[in-house]
C-alpha cells in the first residue's frame, strides 16, 4: 500500500511542478507552488521525516506562498512565458 502511495504523490509532484512553471498567470503559479510544497510535505511525512514535513508545511506551503503572492501583487501579474 505504502509503495503506490509514494508513486501517486511523486506523479502529482511532477505534474504540479511543471504546471507551476508553465502557467502564465503568476498568482496561480504561486498557488500551485503552495500545493507543490504541501504535496512534498506529505511525501516526507510518509517517509518518516516528520520534523522536515512539519517545517515544509509551515514554511513552504505557508509563508513562501504568501511572499510570492505579496510580490506578485506589488508587481505585474501577467508573465510573458
Amino acid at each position: 500500500m505504502v509503495e503506490n502511495f509514494n508513486i501517486i504523490i511523486l506523479v502529482l509532484l511532477v505534474v504540479t511542478a511543471v504546471i507551476s512553471l508553465q502557467v502564465k498567470d503568476l498568482l496561480s503559479a504561486s498557488m500551485i507552488f503552495g500545493i507543490y510544497s504541501f504535496l512534498i510535505c506529505l511525501l516526507w511525512a510518509e517517509m518518516g521525516a516528520v520534523d522536515v514535513a512539519f517545517t515544509e508545511a509551515a514554511v513552504g506551503a505557508g509563508v513562501s506562498a504568501v511572499f510570492l503572492i505579496a510580490t506578485v501583487f506589488n508587481t505585474k501579474r501577467k508573465s510573458s512565458d
Binding site: 511523486l10 503559479a29 518518516g48 508573465s79
Partner: protein, 170 residues
C-alpha cells in the same frame, strides 16, 4: 516473432526489477531537480525563475530525506511503549526522575534499525530555512528591480539597460 517479444518483455521487466526498482526513489529527485533547473534557465520571468530555484532546492531536500529512510522504521522520536513492550529484559523506569536522573546505559538495547536516521532530517531543516531566506531576499531584489525598470521580464530588462531608459538615481 513471438518469442522475440517475450525475450524483450522479460528483459524490460528484468531491467526494471533490479536496475530501476531499487533506485527508483532516487531517480524521482533527479527528475524534480531537472524540472527546477530547466525552469531556472529557460524561464524569462524573474518570479518563474525563483519558483524554479525553489523546486530545485526542494528536490535536493527530497534526496537527503530519502537517504535516511529505513524500511519499516518509525519516526526518529524515542517512544516508551515500543521499547517497554519489545523485550521484558529492558527494565525501563516509568519516569526518568525515578532513576534519580542517572542513566546506567540500560538503553543500549535500542535497536537503531527501528528508527529512521535523524541526521539527514536535521540537515534538511537547515536547508529549508536557508531556501526561504534566499527566496525572501530574491523577491525583495525583484521588487527593487520592478521599482527601477517597471518590468520583471528578463529580455525587457536587458533591452532597457541597453537603451538606458531606467530610473537613474543621483
Amino acid at each position: 516473432m513471438v518469442d522475440f517479444i517475450e525475450i524483450f518483455v522479460e528483459r524490460v521487466v528484468h531491467f526494471i526489477e533490479n536496475v530501476v526498482q531499487p533506485h527508483f526513489n532516487y531517480w524521482s529527485y533527479v527528475v524534480l531537480m531537472m524540472i527546477g533547473l530547466w525552469g531556472l534557465i529557460a524561464k524569462r520571468n524573474l518570479i518563474k525563475k525563483l519558483i524554479g530555484l525553489s523546486i530545485f532546492q526542494t528536490a535536493i531536500i527530497l534526496f537527503y530525506v530519502s537517504l535516511g529512510v529505513k524500511a519499516d522504521a518509525t519516526i526518529p522520536v524515542f517512544d516508551y511503549e515500543a521499547e517497554k513492550s519489545k523485550s521484558a529484559a529492558v527494565v525501563l523506569p516509568a519516569e526518568p526522575s525515578e532513576m534519580g536522573g542517572k542513566s546506567d546505559g540500560k538503553y543500549k538495547k535500542i535497536d537503531p534499525d527501528h528508527y529512521a536516521n535523524p541526521l539527514p532530517h536535521v540537515l534538511m531543516l537547515t536547508a529549508i530555512v536557508v531556501g526561504v531566506a534566499t527566496l525572501g531576499v530574491a523577491l525583495a531584489v525583484a521588487q527593487s528591480i520592478f521599482k527601477d525598470f517597471g518590468t520583471l521580464e528578463e529580455h525587457e530588462i536587458l533591452e532597457k539597460i541597453k537603451t538606458g531608459d531606467y530610473v537613474k538615481h543621483d
